[in-house]
Symmetry: C2
Subunit: 338 residues, 2 copies
Amino acid sequence: MDSHLDNILKDMDEDDIQAYLLTKFTNVEYISNYKPTSFAFCIIKENPIIYASSMDMEIAKNNSTIEVKEYESFEVMLRELKEEGISSLAIEPTLPFSSYEKLRDDFTITSKTYVDKQRMIKTPQEIEKITKATEIAQKSFLQLDILNNQNTEKEIAFDLVRLMIENGADKESFDTIVTSGASSSLPHAIPEAKQLEKPILIDWGAIFEGYCSDNTRTMVYTEAQHEIWDIVAEAHDKAIKAIRPGLKCIEVDKVARDIITDYGYGDRFIHSTGHSLGLDIHETPGFSIRDETVIEEGMVITVEPGIYLEGEFGVRLEDTVAIYKKANVIGDLPLMID
Amino acid sequence: MDSHLDNILKDMDEDDIQAYLLTKFTNVEYISNYKPTSFAFCIIKENPIIYASSMDMEIAKNNSTIEVKEYESFEVMLRELKEEGISSLAIEPTLPFSSYEKLRDDFTITSKTYVDKQRMIKTPQEIEKITKATEIAQKSFLQLDILNNQNTEKEIAFDLVRLMIENGADKESFDTIVTSGASSSLPHAIPEAKQLEKPILIDWGAIFEGYCSDNTRTMVYTEAQHEIWDIVAEAHDKAIKAIRPGLKCIEVDKVARDIITDYGYGDRFIHSTGHSLGLDIHETPGFSIRDETVIEEGMVITVEPGIYLEGEFGVRLEDTVAIYKKANVIGDLPLMID
């Protein structure tokens, strides 16, 4: 925690920035170990401070490694910053315009991603937590009796979450997707109150001690479905094999996209090949057609190619990899589920 | 839906604004009936348009009452706006700074809350959905066998969500709070893997056809707990009785806060008396010490006073009211649960 803070302070110093305002909950958590439940203003400076809401004071005092003060008003906070002689303030790119508007007259504002950049590289402890989250999620998936039950998509999604919690998860890392038949062609399908059709696509994850997991499996039945599955599996496997430090993210996306394009489905692969995860389910960098970030050891990124045939069905296969000299798949769930 | 759009266009016209950019998912949903699952740029203008991600195109085309176009890049979107001769652009106060930064050189930017303001006043259809959500949530609560079961807080929270879904909810409207004993003094407590202690505080809600419900009940046992419960119940009842169109929100907050203060617990009532709800669980206006909004017919707002004794316990009682000539409590769950 303290080394996180030291690194940020060093970055700020290099850019001649006196204070850095954090409001994104997971950024505040990353720096202080306190995750806000309503709102908080965390100000990184020589003597860092968190202005927490009165509602959060008890939990903030218990958890935060940084000094906590009760938030009174934006005006009081601004006055205290100005009294310290602070005139150059960095903000996160996600800061809402309404907050920026209240700051821009009093400070020189620059948007910075110091914390997000540091969060790109996971510590061994963070990778352990992501691994534990993945293990819980995969174990729970295997305990589901998907095919021999008469439950609806919605009920199966629900049972999977319950199993993850029983197996030690804090909660699910995003709304569990259980979709089947034609609706599997929607990458973000919402489980319906209908019996399973085929194919069956499940995209799910757990949170363990704050850290997310993310996996997708598609169970296919007809020859046409198997054919698409094989293409997606090839893209999945070859993209993972291609990953190594020094390569650019866009190059990994290209490996997966080229394979799918060669088979004639390039325009049916309608999203990126992968995204980082950690305290958030979507972090940077990602394997996308735009991301020029150079891959480094310690990154944890999903690989999730998919082909979506509108009106027919979709197939997506997703694993999360931790990057060392090469990419290690986290967890050991087979890609093909019978 | 169309009248929503017409009202916004009229507001824009009065302010001489040519286009209004919406990115908040529930605002896009309110205007178009399509709720984005990843990102979308909805631009309200003479001929309104939504730029949706490729992932969402199928669902957007199926649901949106507004023309949908596949998003290519921010640059393409800007160019198309400029080609239409648009130079004055309104944005939502929640727009992230990073998006604002990409717009400010090309447009005169003003932050506007046209949609949020319209969402303050619910239509009869919206109130029906909130009522249905509340009925599902309250029925599910009564089906829970809270006291005669050996489940942990976490498991009870989970069972409550399952019951809500079985009873027809889309999902929970926020992370269900089941907390007990000393942790009930945290307004946003997270259910733990521990057996219930006393008192027991449950704060829960359902979503039905997109619309949220919100209730809290606290089950008390000792004399000290009953004493605090009575004060909170008095604040709850008298605040609800005070509500009428024409009054300011801050005045309703004052009714509840004055009662609790008179009993000597003013500094232990550490949040607002209530918030609006609808497509979002937290909307404006709210019954708070800062909100000068004048109450109008059609608003739907929670009333949820609480007293939090750190290290001992907390009590909160919450109902949601629909405002007509006076405030009608939605649902019929008794305040005292034995």
